[in-house]
Amino acid sequence: MKTVYVCSDTVTGIFSGIYDAWKSRKREEECEIALRGMLDQQLFCDYVEVEETEHKADAVEALIRKHLGMRAYHDIYHAVLSADPKKGDAVLGTMLTAREIPDSTKIMDHLSHPKVEKVFELYRNVFGETHSYKGFLRFRELKNGVLYAGIEPKNQILTCLAPHFADRLPTENWMIHDKTHKMFAVHEAGKQWVILWGDTFDEEVFEQVSDREEEYTRLWKGFCQTIAIESRRNPRCQLQHLPLRYRSEMVEFG
């Protein structure tokens, strides 16, 4: 009978699930990783609640880094942040397959294996969304001088975005608000960024912008309108590159 390891939708949760499955020495078709709240109940399966610990997660991380290499770890880490409920299972399947090939660090070249292909596809999707937000995210300056950005990503990309902005804006106080997952990346000038969950902030503060904010918004809007060449108008092409879902927080479309 197949064993389904049920864990929470976090890196620690999924890696703990993989830890348990790996320890049980089951074959690929005998085990599965599923996310709590996103189960499709199947008959004839044994459901096991995973006990989630940092220790297990660290062990799995070390295992991947050591045997599959940094590149595969990079892909897998991104895949685990995806919104796809089958992500844990794809990662486990990829790890089990890696055991069977001569050079396990080449696992991500095995795109003809469905689980590897899935990990690759998830990685690309998460990476792509991160890259889009690196450009499309907009900060506004609040009354207290903090730069605030709200985003609504499909995947949990805050831990991918934060290092980028920490490097870029090291001397600013800023926060990025992932409204989909109710998380914040918070950076205090000169310090490390941190992730916070839940209703830590009074969200009304986010609407109170500094006095000069309106002027810069207006200048930017004007710039975006003027830079377009009328005889090359092409809204379809614009839409293709900048889907509507990104535009709600972009001041030039407000």
Binding site: K106, T171, G222
Partner: protein, 438 residues
């Protein structure tokens, strides 16, 4: 010339954005830099698009002219001296404030500063230098800067400017010296090429300095680029890509940009205005060919000839080449070398790399190619897998042409209607310049 006093920041930005918009390059790629922790800004190798304007082009940089109070009279340009348009100039401080405030809000990846000629090339370059100096040294800005070098300015100024910028460009403007003479009476081919050469030589020296002293200041680390206007003068595509090829080879340019001529002035020296709008399809084909020169190991004279000097409207340059060289096909995907794979229509350079890696692990069939990202409906006429073709087909130019056209893919509505307006159609990858490359 109308010069208004006391323009607001909003009006100035509006005038000097409007004056800069015909410059096509807006890319922020080519260099990667971490911040040093004290200033503001960093650079990503692949560049980042921050928005897209209504014409579908990427907005990555604050693209502005420093001034449009220009003493020259280039016939194709809105800012030419003889035009009656609103004029304005920034101060170095104003450009710095705009750049910093836009950057903090993540509106932009950096600054693209170009300029009309105010008083003289040297005078203008001094102003550009003052701006960049302030931005880098006083505001401690570490984001991307692309700056124009003004042809005819003193070499010493070009040098100093290059140490503050990531990319520098000198516009070639037009593909031949005659055309330049006809349309830009104040510019000379010689001045333009001299400035380009200067930047190139300084870059070469800088590479040596950097091998000796790792912390030596860097001279235009993202390289040099240029731009040509397409369709204002009678050059053929063949002439244009030959010029591009020699710019890549002899001047080591990073990029050549092509800008479809937009009719902004009425002038007897310019082609008559038609209802068709800018030659966008032609521009698109040139970008595709440019891509083939840079990444696909094609040479200009393989793509076009004296007898056949212009690109096919119906097919992209690679497909066009394949149809004329059927003797090279079919290619066995499991054996062909990388360069030959690159020449197969429907196989891009990413798929070619993936094929080479994947076939080490086993024999590939058509289903594998599909997963890898090969566009089989184009490739199927030109490849075999394990000695077999996907369907029985004929290696015959007319046959393949007819079938490719019948599938309708890649065939833009604009082409079907034989107009050149509004290309909204082209599928394929778009790079961050908002330029479709495939």
């Amino acid at each position: 010339m109308r010069i208004q006093e006391a323009l607001s920041m909003y009006d100035k930005l509006n005038i000097l954005t409007d004056a800069a918009k015909y410059d096509v390059a807006c890319t922020s790629s080519g260099t990667s830099r971490k911040s040093d922790g004290t200033g503001i800004g960093s650079c990503e190798q692949s560049g980042i698009c921050h928005s897209f304007s209504a014409d579908g082009r990427c907005i990555s940089l604050l693209k502005i002219l420093f001034t449009n109070e220009c003493i020259y009279d280039c016939k194709y340009c809105v800012n030419r001296r003889s035009n009656d348009v609103a004029r304005a100039s920034f101060t170095p401080d104003e450009v710095c404030t705009l750049t910093m405030e836009f950057y903090r809000r993540n509106y932009i990846e950096g600054l693209f500063l170009s300029s009309g000629i105010l008083r003289s090339p040297d005078y203008t370059m001094e102003l550009l230098y003052a701006t960049l100096y302030r931005l880098r040294r006083e505001c401690n800005f570490q984001g991307y800067i692309h700056v124009k070098a003004i042809p005819g300015a003193s070499p010493e100024l070009v040098q100093r400017l290059g140490f503050l910028a990531d990319r520098m460009s000198v516009n070639l403007e037009l593909a031949t010296a005659e055309s330049l003479r006809a349309l830009a009476p104040h510019k000379t081919r010689k001045n333009i090429l001299t400035s380009m050469r200067l930047v190139q030589n300084r870059m070469t020296e800088n590479k040596q300095e950097l091998t000796l002293y790792r912390n030596a200041p860097r001279f235009v680390p993202a390289g040099q680029s240029t731009q040509m206007i397409i369709g204002a003068t009678p050059e053929t595509d063949y002439q244009i890509i030959q010029v591009a090829e020699s710019l890549y080879q002899k001047f080591e340019l990073k990029r050549v940009f092509y800008s479809a001529f937009v009719h902004v002035n009425n002038d007897a020296a310019l082609p008559a205005k038609t209802g068709e709008g800018p030659p966008l399809l032609r521009e698109h084909r040139l970008y595709q060919a440019d891509w083939l020169l840079r990444y696909y190991h094609f040479r200009a004279e393989e793509l076009l000839t004296e007898e056949n000097p212009n690109f096919n409207i119906l097919f992209d340059p690679k497909c066009n080449w394949a149809l004329k060289h059927l003797e090279e096909f079919p290619v066995e995907v499991n054996r062909a070398d990388y360069k030959m794979l690159l020449r197969v229509p429907g196989i891009g350079y990413k798929s070619a790399v993936r094929i080479v890696k994947a076939r080490r692990l086993g024999t590939l069939d058509f289903a594998d190619l599909k997963k890898i990202g090969v566009v089989l409906k184009r490739a199927l006429y030109f490849i075999t897998c394990g000695g077999r073709m996907m369907y029985p087909t004929k290696l015959d130019e007319d046959y393949i042409t007819r079938n490719l056209l019948a599938t309708g893919e890649k065939l833009p509505r604009e082409v079907r209607e034989m107009g050149y307006r509004q290309l909204s159609l082209f599928e394929g990858g778009w790079n961050e310049d908002g330029i479709c490359v495939q």
